[in-house]
């Protein structure tokens, strides 16, 4: 049982020129945690996911790894302040927001146990990418794996 036998081979994708606002709408509409972003020729460029949205809403200093602002209770931001941040990002292309840290990919021939490990570590959906051509072949969601494991 390899990744390509389980993946969804026709996933919904975003293009590099889509705006933050369009991607935001799509995630909300489909109720998914992230969508793959591809070039016109099908090259995989990363996942646009909820982390990218949280990063827009949070103060930049809260995104640092160590000894940063670990608690934001003191910052009594209201909904308007957050909406303002969203509005600033709305028309920018999603290429500005892609961040590979949270979205590893997997090869089509990888065993399913590798996919389980990646999902355990990173959550979300797992893009299946051809290591030679760099093209997106499909997406593995936790639900597809669980359905197959349950039998």
């Amino acid at each position: 049982m390899t990744a390509k036998t389980i993946m969804n081979a026709a996933p919904v994708t975003l293009s590099m020129h889509d705006t933050f606002g369009q991607a935001f709408h799509l995630l909300m509409e489909m109720r998914v945690r992230g969508l793959p972003v591809v070039e016109l020729d099908g090259h995989y460029r990363g996942m646009f996911d909820l982390y990218d949205i949280w990063e827009v809403l949070l103060p930049k200093a809260a995104l640092f790894n160590h000894k940063s602002v670990e608690d934001l209770t003191f910052l009594s931001s209201n909904a308007e302040a957050l909406q303002e941040k969203l509005a600033d990002a709305w028309d920018r292309p999603i290429s500005d927001f892609l961040d590979d840290d949270h979205s590893p990919s997997i090869c089509p021939d990888s065993p399913v146990i590798e996919a389980v490990l990646q999902l355990y570590k990173h959550g979300g959906n797992l893009p299946v990418v051809d290591s030679k051509s760099g093209k997106l072949l499909g997406i593995m969601s936790p639900w597809e794996i669980l359905a197959r494991v349950r039998g």
Binding site: K60, A61, A62, F64, S68, V69, T73, F74
Partner: protein, 446 residues
Amino acid sequence: MHSEPGAAHVIFGWSPAIVASVLFGLVYALIIAEKINRAILALLGAGLLIICGVINQEAAVRGIDFNTIGLLMGMMLIVNITAKCGIFQYIAIWAAKRVNAEPMGVLIMLSIVTAFLSAMLDNVTTVLLVVPVTLVITEELKVKPYPYLVYEILFSNIGGTATLIGDPPNIMIGSAVGLTFNDFVVNLTPVVLVVMAATLVPVYFIWRKDLVTSPEARKRVMNFSEREAITNPRLMKQALAVIACVITGFVTARFIHLEPATIAIFGAAALLLLDNFGYDAEHQSKNVHHAFAEVEWITLMFFVGLFILVHGLESSGVIRAMAEKLLAATAGDRNITVLAILWGSAILSAFIDNIPFVATMIPMIKSMAPTFGGEQALMPFWWALSLGACLGGNGTLIGASANLVVAGLAERAGHPIRFVPYMKSCFLLMLLSVAVCHVYMVIRYL
């Protein structure tokens, strides 16, 4: 040139002075090249010094100043445990609100907070704590964080100059010469206050136009609740009590006959006890492990290797020869030598790590005692070395560790601080601060 008694013989019959100088020079050059971690280089150099037979292991261990190592380690533990409670964020937010979140006022207040904290803690920890809060505040105010971050760099190095525990060069000088916390406060704090005031004046002329915001943005910052920044009130009370005791210990060190390292490590152990009291063994192990992991071992191991390397230079007579050269250059004039140390240390520390520089200068200055009439006559030399080495770090972006840490955080926040623009303004500000110190030295000591 002589060898220290008990030292082993150098391999192939080489001159100990030449082997020690070549190894030291090589390590120094590689540190400047920044291709290999400085702790690795210093320990490798120290190991080779012993393997080549310039000094034996016993002599190498004697060369390590455990008072410096212990004081640094103790303070790192205390600060890292204290940082968990949010007190430093509290102070920064409180300071910003005292000036009604007015951008220029916030810059001045955060600079002063940085200087104050740097005088009590190490500079890197200070900027790691203050910079993130600064970025939150400037983001809310919608002003460029650049001048704020640059001034936090400058004031972390200026504030660190004021006390024994503020900056590693002071810890090294204090330990090597037997100077107390009070000696530093009495001799350096006054001029540091003047340097702070002098450094703040140009802000108005350089960045006045950039430091404007809207009333709404100021209101957002005024709505920050500094009380909410305290995440662990119990730990805060314990940490503040321990820090108060440790500072009292430093101030009274001469009367209670304790070295600063003992006071700092005892304070750290007491804080660890308080922080872990009442928890089960597993929780304690995890917590204590985490506290020790936060200690900057790279810095401490760098010190260990460096002390051994410098001891090699000292025992093989190289340091004495260097001191004689410096004295020849200044014609043995005390005043010229003191001012040459002040300016030379500042310019060099802007480009090279001030820790190995000070480690080399200490034995050099000590060896000048007979020329200038005893150890007491050397006091102005120590103050000149401290002021030059600490303030010089402000000259360039690579002048001190804190500078690089701020630059790293600024880059990640999307507001990079570049080498040349920084140097254009800050090298002049550094020269201004050293000029202030020059006048102070002349009036008070020369």
